[in-house]
């Protein structure tokens, strides 16, 4: 076993092609933002009924995944698992990059993105949104320091561990904050629940690790650096545990809510007769994002193949988007129960299931956030010594 050596990645054909592709998406998003700025949200599918749309699905996915991308670094620094240590730098970089991508989408979807400075300087401290602004900024600072301690020469291990521990606690707080954006909303039957915070935390574990696995696999392949199948397999099984946790928390969420008579309507809507939302829940989240990945990574023989982990990671991401879509859009599509005991109707869509048709600008903006996150990650690996030259199983140590 040689010493782990970190080196900047060198541009090659595959990397330049990827960069060009990301550039196209960034340009697409820039165009979408200008278009939405000029004409207003009228050009999106969002309405006064579905006030948060596809951009929020992308933003929340990315912000949740950001916290989870830090898993590997946390496991190495806080829980002392040395095989993960060579991946810690990338873990921290990817976490910051995903958060930046998610926040960019969130900010550019604001009705007045030009007033970002107000959001950064004028706070209502009772708002969980305002707390989140601190949690996001703090995340950049703390994970940045954590990354620095990992990269600085002759930094005492104790300092790295302390920084890693603070980052670990902070990311838990951050995702608690993200989940509580929904959990603390008393108005909507789909949300009001303390389980939203822990649910979002386990979602972050799964989504973030899935993104991390794909980024490492892709980068090591295109740069020709070894990535041991046993290490990949180990990450895959860890992903399986997280996917199982997401299913468990989802089950508890719906069992609890469904048990209450007053929430019968929303639960029937999501689980049985909600059309696209029911399909996305069962087929998207549970089957594609849950059961199939579990079967793939825990299969006695097939589970050891690198392809199983890679396919499982892709499915977890797709299922994750479906889950966030059901939470964000499905939760708004179901009508508010302002007049219990009555069926309401009005010019403002009282009492009806709201329709939502996502538009191209929204999709392009969301994809731009993904592209931004990946561009930052790529640039970071290009200019900083993030990625080890050798991640072969022999080199990263005992499994």
């Amino acid at each position: 076993m040689e010493r782990t050596i970190y080196r900047e990645i060198q541009a090659n054909r595959a990397i330049l092609q990827t960069a060009a592709l990301l550039g196209v998406f960034l340009l697409g998003a820039a165009g979408a933002v200008l278009y939405m700025e000029e004409y207003g949200h009228i050009v999106t599918g969002m309405t006064n009924q579905i006030v948060w749309g596809l951009p929020h699905v992308f933003a929340i996915f990315l912000i949740v995944a950001a916290s989870g991308a830090l898993n590997v670094a946390s496991i190495a620094s806080v829980f002392g698992k040395t095989p993960y240590k060579p991946l810690s730098r990338l873990s921290a970089l990817l976490a910051m990059a995903l958060l930046a991508g998610g926040l960019a989408v969130l900010v550019l979807d604001l009705g007045r993105p030009d007033r970002l400075i107000i959001a950064m300087t004028t706070y209502n401290f009772k708002s969980i949104f305002a707390w989140n602004i601190y949690l996001y900024n703090g995340f950049f600072l703390i994970v940045g320091i954590y990354l620095y301690t990992q990269m600085a020469r002759s930094m005492p291990a104790k300092v790295v561990k302390t920084a890693g521990f603070v980052a670990f606690i902070w990311r838990l707080a951050l995702t608690t904050g993200t989940g509580s954006i929904f959990g603390w909303l008393v108005a909507r039957a789909a949300y009001e629940s303390a389980i939203m915070a822990p649910l979002f935390i386990v979602m972050s574990f799964a989504f973030g690790l899935a993104v991390f696995i794909l980024v490492v696999t892709f980068t090591t392949r295109v740069t020709g650096r070894p990535f041991g199948p046993k290490l990949l397999n180990r990450l895959g099984r860890l992903l399986g545990i997280f996917v199982g946790l997401v299913l468990y928390f989802t089950a508890i969420q719906h069992l609890t809510s469904g048990y209450w008579a007053r929430n019968g309507g929303i639960e029937r809507f999501i689980l049985f007769n909600g059309g696209i939302y029911t399909t996305l829940f069962w087929v998207g989240q549970v089957l594609i994002g849950g059961l199939i990945p579990l079967a793939l990574v825990f299969h006695p023989t097939g589970g050891r193949k690198p392809a199983s982990t890679i396919v499982a990671s892709i499915l977890v991401i797709l299922g994750g988007f479906a889950q966030v879509y059901v939470i964000v859009i499905g939760g708004q599509a179901y009508p508010l129960n302002i007049f219990p005991g009555f069926t309401a109707s009005s010019s403002f869509f009282d009492g009806v299931v709201n329709t939502y048709n996502p538009s191209w600008p929204e999709f392009l903006l969301g994809m731009g956030g993904v592209a931004l996150a990946l561009t930052i990650t790529g640039l970071g690996m290009k200019v900083l010594r993030i990625l080890p030259t050798n991640l072969s199983d022999a080199n990263v140590g005992q499994m």
Binding site: R115, I117, I118, A119, T121, I181, V186, S346
Partner: protein
């Protein structure tokens, strides 16, 4: 403001760690510096005229609200300069007529609903910048200068009382009710009228039709018409279970 220059004497691809961090610091400065100057100019006139000894409220008598009458809705639209909905999904509606059908008996009732001016408004709690605020006299408003258009208040409102301005406003704006694309708005209880001793436009219009279904007044004054009516007849608040104590009450619902 002079920005630290990036050194490109080397090939850009060989940008070292120090350059990278320096670029990051420059970006952070550009983002934050304008805010430091903005902080110097604070203060809001929006809260100036409120009297803490009052709490303004409305009492809507469902029995008196007539099926096809929308006089209050039209009056609000004219008074505050929002058009009656053309694009129903995206146009603002500060007040709306609702038809209710009793799930058990099939009996129909009619009422109007708008911002309920809660004592504990969830929109004010969740607003990250404090643009959503409650005056000391109980009127809940949006400060149009600091609303960033995040729509979290719309997610939080149990009454669906708020609208987001989805497109450029082409209609004539009223000086007392500024509106702007990309911000959120809702019923102001005609605060500009109330502050000059007049009653809200919806109440005036309802009275003019002879229905008299909406009473406006000071909930803290036991001698006001609204307080006397509330003391005399049973009334309820929408979603009373949430404990928000709205300033808008309904009788005969």
């Amino acid at each position: 403001m002079k920005l630290p220059a990036l050194k490109f004497s080397k090939k850009p691809s060989e940008m070292d760690r120090r350059d990278f961090l320096r670029a990051g610091a420059a970006l952070a400065t550009i983002t934050l510096a304008p805010g430091v100057t903005l902080m110097a100019f604070g203060g809001s006139e929006a809260k100036a005229n409120a009297d803490p000894a009052k709490r303004w409220g409305l009492l809507i008598d469902v029995n008196k609200c007539v099926k096809d009458c929308t006089a209050c809705v039209s009056a609000c639209s004219q008074e505050n300069g929002w058009r009656l909905p053309v694009n129903k999904e995206t146009d603002a509606q500060w007040i709306r007529k609702v038809t209710l059908t009793d799930n058990d008996t099939g009996r129909e009732e009619y009422l109007v609903t708008m911002c309920q001016h809660c004592e504990e408004p969830p929109c004010v709690d969740v607003c990250p910048t404090g643009a959503s605020f409650k005056r000391v006299d109980g009127i809940v408003l949006v400060d149009k200068h600091i609303c960033i258009g995040c729509r979290y208040c719309m997610m939080a409102c149990p009454y669906k009382a708020r609208s987001f301005v989805h497109e450029n406003i082409v209609d004539e704006q009223k000086t007392w009710a500024p509106r702007g694309k990309g911000t959120v708005e809702s019923c102001t209880m005609c605060v500009h009228r109330v502050d000059t001793g007049r009653i809200p436009a919806c109440v005036e219009a309802c009275n003019a039709t002879g229905h008299g279904a909406i009473i406006f007044g000071d909930l803290k004054d036991p001698e006001s018409e609204i307080s006397k009516a509330l003391a005399k007849y049973p009334s309820t608040a929408l979603r009373d279970d949430l404990g928000l104590n709205p300033g808008v009450r309904y009788s005969n619902l």
